[in-house]
């Protein structure tokens, strides 16, 4: 075990869902890269909010509203500290990563002009491609793609060759959702900055495994979804550097984001409220903070070491299955706990369907990253993604089930 203080059985008891059966079998949940499961502590915080201090925030003079506002703003500070942002108002609550990227694409992206270039990595989730495509169409900026190499890593030579004074934005994920590749974002950020470009890093897949320090990275924008990191769905954050957020126009209009409104002119509120129109997901924001507390009670180093142990074990064991092809970096150290694979001659959908009958949940398909699948010329992969509450015993069940599926389907 990676750390003597990490008691896996105790951790598993925190997750009520891990006790349930699926199709009569013990659930083996290996779809953590799609969404993580939720510990009791986080669920309780949501119940506590609705049972005890549900109120709209930032407005009411009454006690409930003040309690709710305090809890929500405390969560913002927890998130700020977790990512080591300089100021709490550099953390903008959003509905998730997709919303956060759309915010930057529409707001900061409105500064783009014809002749400008933006660079996107070929490893992106569709949500870090499409908003920028839409913005390029609107502004006349041109999008260039940093290609992927066969090992699932970015072609950094191409990046260094193509980045120039024309480049205004680079967007890249910290970790690929389809393959688990950890991208060299430090190198990308430093190089982009040397050419005067800003960088948005999609941290949806890295957040559950790697504690990013936004100041040390010197990243301009970093986006996260709570539901990937033991929090609830429907809430996430955008981190942005204060000076950039100050320059940016609001993205959505409504309540909360204004200072003064008249039909002649509206003046906007300061950060972070300028970007937080409407009543937010208050319980979700508070629960996001509790999820981070929970992760820290175990420790990100412990989590990372244990997950890597699981990935190494699964990577070895899956080789027992005839015809298995693994996609992405070969060395488990170069990726997070994701095993993206196919079995020769079989469709990932068939494998996923049979495994589900045996209680094993994994993801099949293109993982909203079709450019990667096009590169390998495959319709999709099966993806097993592990979390710190998974066990080697579950990996054993998965391998046995996979062998059975292969024999049924062949």
């Amino acid at each position: 075990m990676a750390n003597a203080t990490f008691d896996i059985e105790k951790v598993r008891k925190d997750f009520p869902i891990l006790q349930r059966k699926v199709n009569g079998k013990d659930l083996v949940y290996f779809d953590n890269a799609a969404t993580s499961q939720t510990p009791k502590q986080v669920i309780d915080s949501i119940v506590d909010y609705y049972e005890n201090y549900n109120a709209n925030i930032h407005r009411g003079v009454h006690s409930l509203s003040q309690e709710a506002t305090d809890a929500y703003e405390q969560a913002r500070i927890k998130i700020q500290k977790h990512f080591n942002a300089q100021k709490p108002h550099e953390i903008i609550f959003t509905s998730g990563t997709t919303h956060a990227i759309n915010l930057v694409a529409n707001s900061y992206g409105s500064f783009l002009k014809p002749g400008d270039e933006v660079l996107v990595s070929a490893l992106e989730h569709h949500s870090n491609i499409v908003p920028w495509q839409m913005m390029c169409e609107k502004t006349g900026a041109q999008m260039k793609v940093i290609p992927m190499l066969n090992n699932g890593q970015l072609d950094m030579n191409f990046f260094h060759k193509e980045v120039s004074s024309k480049t205004k934005m680079v967007f890249v994920n910290h970790v690929s959702n389809a393959l688990g590749t950890i991208n060299p974002i430090e190198e990308i950020i430093a190089t982009a900055h040397a050419h005067g470009a800003k960088v948005l890093v999609d941290g949806a897949q890295s957040a559950p495994h790697i504690q990013a320090d936004v100041q040390e990275l010197d990243v301009d924008f970093y986006t996260v979804s709570a539901h990937k990191i033991c929090g609830p769905t429907g809430v996430g954050i955008l981190y942005g550097k204060e000076e950039l957020l100050e320059q940016m126009p609001p993205y959505q209009g409504g309540g909360e984001m204004i200072a003064e409104v008249s039909f002649e002119k509206t003046t906007y509120a300061g950060l972070p409220h300028k970007f937080e129109a409407g009543t937010p997901n208050i319980a979700g924001g508070i629960a996001f903070g509790v999820a981070l507390d929970y992760m820290h009670s175990i420790g990100f180093n412990v989590i990372n070491a244990y997950e890597n142990e699981l990935l190494t074990y699964a990577t070895e064991r899956i080789k027992e299955v005839n015809g298995v092809i693994i996609y992405g970096p070969e060395n488990p150290k170069d990726k997070t706990a994701v095993l993206s694979f196919n079995v020769e001659g079989l469709h990932a959908y068939d494998i996923g369907t049979i495994l589900d009958q045996m209680g094993i949940a994994l993801r099949t398909g293109h993982h909203c990253a079709q450019p990667i699948m096009d590169y390998y010329q495959i319709p999709g992969t099966a993806r097993a993604s592990f979390s710190f509450y998974n066990t080697k015993k579950e990996i054993d069940s998965f391998i046995e089930a996979l062998k059975k599926a292969v024999s049924m389907l062949s």
């Binding site: 959908y349 049979i354 009958q357 319709p379 049924m408 389907l409």
Partner: protein, 141 residues
Amino acid sequence: MSKIEEKQEEIVDEFSMFEDWMQRYEYMIELGKTLPQIDEQHKTDENIIKGCQSRVWLHADLEGDKIKFSADSDAIITKGIIAILIRVFSEQTPKDILEADLKFIDEIGLKDHLSPTRANGLVSMIKQLKNYALAYQAKLN
């Protein structure tokens, strides 16, 4: 009783013999292997049913007053599902296809495949079968 209903009952009877999911899936895989292959010329992008995780091609010809379906997929379980659907719907009149009630899907334990998740193709397949029936009915009238 219309022929569609008879065919549905036949399939329900066959599936009622199976004791567990494995037998049910093994049978669907077998059915998939026997699926009458679609003519290569009909495996076009136009004939791909959108909304399936696996690729599914469906083609329909009008023969007399009846529709003949042929299909293929790159996933074997999907092929099995289409094979069942084709057995029920192929060589039926557009009117009967449009009016058909598909309660057998539930009865043979395929209901899981009807949930409206994005991975799922059964809903799209049935919709496409019925679309063909609608188009040919318009043509016949």
